[in-house]
Symmetry: C2
Subunit: 310 residues, 2 copies
């Protein structure tokens, strides 16, 4: 049935490996080894694409391509994540049990039950604890499950979509704070994950901020323009673990430069939590609690120096 074949551009799309990488791997390691069509163009059979996907996943977990290429497929499936030791894994005293219940509902693809379970927990814990102690670790767990191949892409999408809806619902029901500090929330291009941003938005709104959400993947220059037009005091970005960490410092520096000095720049999410060198003029918020704290500090500061001359 599945003798589907792929062109190099569809492989690029499906695996996230650039054409350059696909060609240079072929040259260096002898894999992938696509056939050629009448025109000499590469034709990748489905099983090689599958193997490439697997290799990509393992690389994201810290493995090196050179080793992976020479490893037989059966052995690849056995490999475990090989991360740089995370020092501050969440203590996870209470959650584990509770998280499993929720994860199970996702695994069973039972949307309605999952949504109901979320509402129940929201009512029980209250918003701050619900977001910080349930949703945040939950989405972390989903990330872990996805990394280790226990979750497929569509299951992650399913989870994201349902969670997102319930969060949006919650945010809409919060009283608006037109007078609070104005915060612009978005992500940079190539960062599609919006869940972290929405969690932050719900907490910040609850704590009295006036949030302006632009969704995901706003170009740098547009963030700067929007910050000006909306008269925000803060631009808050979110980076997931999946975002290429190397690029973050340069991007933040670039944005910082494009932004008026009076506008604060906050960067949060798992992607920045373990960042080595801190950037000048950028607030790194490793956790949601840090974000709330930053907001309180801002409010405090504003109270002391109410109005700067324009």
């Amino acid at each position: 049935m599945n003798d589907q074949v792929y062109t190099i551009s569809s492989v690029e799309r499906d695996t996230g490996l650039s054409k350059d990488v696909l060609r240079v791997w072929e040259r260096r390691y002898g894999f992938p080894a696509p056939q050629r069509d009448v025109h000499g163009e590469r034709i990748y059979p489905a099983d090689q694409v599958e193997r490439l996907r697997l290799i990509k996943r393992l690389m994201d977990q810290g493995h090196r391509p050179g080793k992976l290429m020479t490893t037989p497929s059966e052995a690849l499936a056995q490999l475990r994540p090989r991360r740089l030791a995370r020092k501050a894994e969440v203590p996870a005293d209470r959650p584990v049990e509770e998280l499993e219940t929720l994860l199970d509902l996702i695994r069973r693809h039972d949307g309605p039950a999952y949504q109901q379970a979320l509402s129940q927990r929201l009512a029980r814990h209250g918003l701050p604890s619900f977001v910080q102690d349930i949703l945040a670790p939950l989405s972390h767990q989903v990330g872990v499950a996805w990394e280790s191949g226990r979750f497929a892409v569509h299951e992650e999408h399913f989870f994201t979509e349902l969670t997102l809806r319930m969060l949006r619902q919650v945010i809409a029901s919060l009283p608006p704070c037109p007078e609070g500090p104005r915060i612009l929330l978005t992500t940079l291009p190539d960062e599609k994950h919006v869940l972290g941003l929405l969690m932050a938005e719900s907490l910040l709104t609850l704590d009295g901020a006036h949030c302006i959400a632009l969704g995901t993947e706003t170009p740098l220059s547009d963030i700067a323009r929007a910050a000006e037009i909306h008269h925000v005091e803060v631009v808050a970005l979110s980076f997931s673990v999946a975002f290429p960490a190397r690029q973050i410092p340069a991007l933040l520096r670039q944005l910082r430069q494009a932004l008026p000095a009076c506008v604060e720049l906050w960067a949060g999410g798992e992607g920045v939590a373990h960042l080595s060198r801190p950037a000048d003029g950028v607030e790194i918020l490793a956790t949601l609690a840090d974000a709330r704290e930053a907001l309180h500090a801002l409010v405090e500061k504003r109270r002391c120096a109410p109005l700067a001359a324009p």
Copy 2:
């Protein structure tokens, strides 16, 4: 202030023009004409990137690159859209007036007022008319405004985010139909626009379907797997005008092949409305009304032949 410079990969990201295209244009037309860094790599100054953005926009409107390259920048700004004549431009009897009001609120970046205006119109017209006669033409207009450069990216994001939230709100408030036909909704990779899909979801849910939403950019193979797991009867995709039309037939054929024959495949959105050759086994739904009709046809068919053996 803005003597920012760009590498070829950041230009690719910011303009959507591939590295190959940027290099071949330089070779053929002499533009862009980037400087080189110490290592011989291309360095694009900000003004050239700006011009590239403009050229890209004009190309999307039907202009040809060869002409554009030799046109001075001042003349470029004057060019009007040069589309293949759209036959069926929306009649636009009532809306124009009403749409302008909404567009104006976006232009003024007044989120709260815009949301309120939407709610008001929803209450007045009822959901079906609200979505089909207000939201659909409105988002079309936003697309037009964006094409002609009257809307910036961040304004489009702002509009999308607000509209999306209100639609999600509406959908959540509809009674679920666990017994209705199960429909999987998503978009293909590279299609980030989700608004059309959400409009469809709201109408289909209202008409008794049980919708399973996966958000945007689900890989083909995951759509197939998800369709199976969720036992859906229909997979519905949405294509915006921005989606590269050439690829659509091949993609639909590929997905059709990966899907069980008993699962229907629907494709809707402005991107497929003007598609030339119809694909085998794929339902092309040019408008939201067509989508509703397709659902009714499905329900009818199901009533006649209630249960196929599994």
